[in-house]
Symmetry: C2
Subunit: 127 residues, 2 copies
């Protein structure tokens, strides 16, 4: 895993875009945000995450956790018991990042026009 890290392309545009791209890369995994939201308020066990994030595979969950840990967004704690017990908790940095990300939801609420755009008639509303 471990995204390309550091603006692999886009040398033409401003440095700020590059930084934003880098940050987005850290949470761009399909399940990264879900994992973060589940670990915001205290340690959560691997199996608990697997249950909350219905549909995720063990492999992807592991990779996602490793990436977030490597990025300093999660702390991994191993309790040397048997059976093993491993817990994951979001860091302060992760919580701040998460807050800013949810700010994007505010944007969506303030811009229904944009939010409604691009909806496929077949699969939008329900589900």
């Amino acid at each position: 895993m471990s995204r390309t890290t550091a603006c692999t392309a886009q040398e033409g545009v401003g440095r700020e875009v590059c930084t934003v791209l880098d940050v987005l890369g850290r949470v761009s995994g399909k399940w990264s945000l879900g994992v973060l939201s589940e670990t915001l308020h205290g340690p959560v066990r691997f199996s608990a995450l697997e249950r909350s994030l219905a549909g995720i595979s063990r492999r992807i969950l592991t990779l996602t956790l490793r990436e977030l840990e490597e990025d300093g967004l999660l702390v991994r704690t191993v309790h040397p018991t048997v059976p093993p017990r491993v817990e994951y908790a979001a860091t302060d940095a992760a919580r701040e990042l998460y807050e800013r990300l949810t700010g994007l939801a505010d944007w969506a609420r303030r811009h229904p026009e944009a939010a409604a755009a691009g909806r496929r008639p077949g699969g939008a509303g329900a589900r």
Copy 2:
């Protein structure tokens, strides 16, 4: 193109995560942010974008522009002259979104530990 739109997975997690995911999907294209940053301050021609975003292919630039337009982030203006002249400009919604996104850069500055994490010794700085 046109991302899956509307949380295709992640029914388990909160609705807010879903909304954020949707918003991120709108700018997740490899060049979407670059295009936005170039069009923030007034109309820009297709060829101008192609020059600014060094390395982008015509096809991808077109697709990116179409997607952003469909999402209400860009306005496309065709001047019926010959040769044709097409200009793209960010909408107000896009500018607000862009501002919130650059807020993520602030986060990176406030968290050097996280920002520095995951750097591959071989391929970071230079290039």
